[in-house]
Symmetry: C2
Subunit: 174 residues, 2 copies
Amino acid sequence: MSLIRWTTAVAVATVALAACQKAETPEQTASRMQAETDSARTAIAAQNARFVRYVNANQADSLALLYPADGVILQPDMPAATGRDSIKARYAALFAPGGVMTLTTVALTANGPVAIERGTWTYMIPAQGKTPAMHLAGKSLVHWHKVNGQWMFAEDMWNNDAPAPAAPAPAARH
Amino acid sequence: MSLIRWTTAVAVATVALAACQKAETPEQTASRMQAETDSARTAIAAQNARFVRYVNANQADSLALLYPADGVILQPDMPAATGRDSIKARYAALFAPGGVMTLTTVALTANGPVAIERGTWTYMIPAQGKTPAMHLAGKSLVHWHKVNGQWMFAEDMWNNDAPAPAAPAPAARH
């Protein structure tokens, strides 16, 4: 190959590499993240649908498998719980007979294998005996992490929109 | 330029572009994110130190400026509040005279302009008249966003590790 031909090839390759190695501009980052967020939305909605189905079926085992092995829940009025065994035990203690949950995504931001989802939730507990029905509502912030192509609840926090109704006095339950 | 010279240049450029356009491997992503997390840690610690200083000085104005214009707080037992005016009003209502806050980062994950921080907090309220001292403790999950080179609290959620102590009956306050 002639020197001129090599020079041309190297020059073209250098321009190509310079173009690709340059860091994203903030606009390019925002645009790439928007595309990644759009693409994560469906998969995360499917995971949330599973979450709701397992809560409503009182399946704490299945719920815990939506979290990675080192997943963490940050539940109101309890210390954080880490790992599937702890998460399973916490959910099992939260289920109310006949309780029906809904989840709504309010905001989602994805960047590569990381996503943050802000949401709202409701949990309707039917009346039981003399205990009146309860309509709980609140919000959530979830750090999703994509593990082997699957979005999982890496860190999952929630709280309530209003103080929980006082538990009825034991005498009122019978 | 001869056809052969062009062909060579295009071939070299194609190889160069293919090498650089290849997506990161999961290992490369994890390693880059670890470096970005290490580099974000100091700046986020400095923002948290400001947060604590403003809470302890009851400076709701300054606190609100740590949030972007569309920042959101997800406070226990209240609906979400969006924007600096709402955030300022919420914090002003939370301050207790002489209250002292601490914040500790437990886990941090950064990826480009996005970071997620899990933390713990304490808030010590000294006794006042017949109202005993209160030691509150809880946890937080923060979606940080880097805006014009500055890490800000984009979405900030917290809750408690235990139910809040019952407010004393009005008669007990005097």
